[in-house]
């Protein structure tokens, strides 16, 4: 998903670094407000973009509450609904959830919410690891076009798009300047 500076087609800036930082801060506050603190709370980022955002959220929560929250990383590849249709199997990245999720409130974190299929896969993957008390969903961008009845609990920004457009969340952790852009084909 990451593109270098040179081979970028037309991109339209939707969020800059400041916008992303403010959205992360607001979501961190909303998570704390909704869950009345960090009791029983854990964040799980969906590889790859969601993991970076989950780390940012945990850092922000730590600054606000002066206490740490467990964080996990989820690779949803094995739970995708199009796996049996693909000619070549996608590369796997490790799932690493080093705590028991049972009876915890899990905030799934992803960069873009689109069809909802990734989140469906993530929930299946999560439930194979235990039985959380509750699963909530935080996304930086909700671009619409859901194909499944899935709704985010926390949203950084709603961005109406057409199906053909490509939205990219580019982050420092991937060697980019922080920004969200729409790429026109």
């Amino acid at each position: 998903m990451v593109m270098t500076q040179n081979d970028r087609p037309q991109e339209r800036l939707i969020m800059d670094a400041g916008d992303i930082a403010r959205a992360v801060t607001r979501i961190a506050h909303e998570i704390l407000e909704r869950n009345k603190g960090i009791q029983n709370l854990a964040l799980v980022g969906i590889r790859t973009g969601g993991v970076h955002l989950a780390h940012r959220l945990v850092k922000r929560i730590q600054e606000i509450e002066a206490a740490s929250v467990p964080i996990g990383e989820l690779d949803i590849t094995l739970y995708r609904d199009d796996l049996s249709l693909r000619k070549e199997q996608p590369i796997l990245r490790m799932t690493s959830v080093p705590f028991d999720i049972s009876d915890k409130v899990i905030v799934l974190v992803d960069d873009v919410l689109f069809t909802g299929r990734t989140i469906r896969a993530a929930m299946d993957g999560l439930i194979d690891l235990g039985r959380p008390a509750e699963i909530q969903l935080a996304v930086l961008v909700d671009r619409g076009h859901r194909q499944l009845p899935i709704k985010a609990t926390y949203i950084g920004k709603n961005i109406p798009t057409s199906r053909e457009e490509d939205i990219q969340v580019l982050l420092e952790e991937q060697g980019e300047d922080d920004r969200v852009v729409i790429l026109k084909a």
Binding site: Y79, K87, Q89, D128
Partner: protein, 306 residues
């Protein structure tokens, strides 16, 4: 990078990148096998057939468990319980299995080249689970995985492969892969068990175990195939054990952090002393555990849609 092969027949033609892809993929499945619910839906609706023309518990069970943990359906075919005793050829048996929509056939056969012959004749993916003295690629890969898991890097790694190299498909698969990855491979055994010209594969030949073990980081013991006794390969089991058995004194000749491997089943007191098999250097049971994860990785990579 993905595995663009229909079949996995041997390690000889695999590139270093392909080997690394398989090992890295196995990491994800190692995590799955450590969960309370050791199952993922990746191969739902796929059918894996274990076609075993030789007795094998470990490898067959390992493949069966791997396939089941990927949610595939598994069928076990063995000659004693099938039409092979009625004179059906390998290819006809396989075509029948294929007609039942098998996606992957795992073949164990006493003849070298059987897997390759089968792969040419069927559309299903074929995984070689051991063909005669030729290769046993999944064993080789799980051995590599176990070495890597111990934090050892292959470049310059000193490995001694000990025993009946001539009749060992495990040795052949490991030699091909380890040499490719840059390891320094030594083979050691009585001259009757070292195949002529094995140096051409890039290994060094030793006839004295003590010499071969000096400074190695990995000792890979091969099973002495006791059924070969009386075929003029070695005079007595006692003599073999004295000259080529791995004792704790001999382990001391190797690197202090050496790991001892064995594909199983082990002959305690023959090729390996019981105290060595049960020592902290022994990774024999890790190999078995890793076998499932590595085979899950291979099944996953080979299960792309046709």
């Amino acid at each position: 990078m993905s595995l663009k092969r229909k079949d996995l027949l041997s390690l000889a033609p695999l590139s270093v990148d392909e080997i690394r892809l398989i090992l890295e993929t196995a990491d994800s499945f190692k995590e799955v096998t450590g969960r309370e619910i050791k199952k993922v839906p990746a191969l739902r609706g796929r059918t894996v057939v274990n076609l075993f023309f030789e007795p094998s518990t470990r490898t067959r069970t390992s493949f069966e468990l791997a396939a089941k943990r990927l949610s595939a359906d598994v069928i076990n075919f063995s000659p004693s319980s099938s039409s092979v005793v009625k004179g059906e050829t390998l290819l006809d048996t396989a075509r029948n299995i294929e007609a039942m929509q098998a996606d992957i056939i795992v073949l164990r056969h006493p003849s070298a080249g059987a897997a390759e012959a089968l792969a040419r004749g069927v559309k299903s993916s074929v995984i070689n689970a051991g063909d005669g003295w030729h290769e046993h690629p999944t064993q080789g890969l799980l051995d590599l995985y176990t070495i890597r898991e111990r934090g050892l890097s292959f470049e310059g790694l000193k490995v001694a492969i000990v025993g009946d190299v001539a009749h060992s498909r495990v040795a052949r698969s490991n030699i091909h892969a380890l040499v490719k990855l840059g390891a320094e491979v030594r083979v050691v055994g009585p001259p009757t068990m070292i195949p002529a010209g094995v140096e051409k594969l890039g290994v060094r030949v030793y006839y004295h175990l003590d010499e071969a073990l000096r400074d190695v980081q990995v000792i890979m013991m091969l099973r002495l195939q006791l059924e070969r006794q009386g075929k003029a390969l070695f005079p007595t089991i006692r003599e073999y054990a004295r000259l080529y058995g791995l004792t704790s004194e001999r382990v001391k000749l190797a690197d202090p952090k050496v790991i001892v491997m064995h594909p199983g089943p082990i002959n305690r007191g023959v090729e390996i002393a019981p105290e060595v098999a049960d020592s902290l250097s022994s990774v024999i049971l890790d190999q078995v555990a890793n076998g499932v994860a590595v085979r899950m990785g291979i099944l996953y990579l080979m299960s792309g849609a046709n």
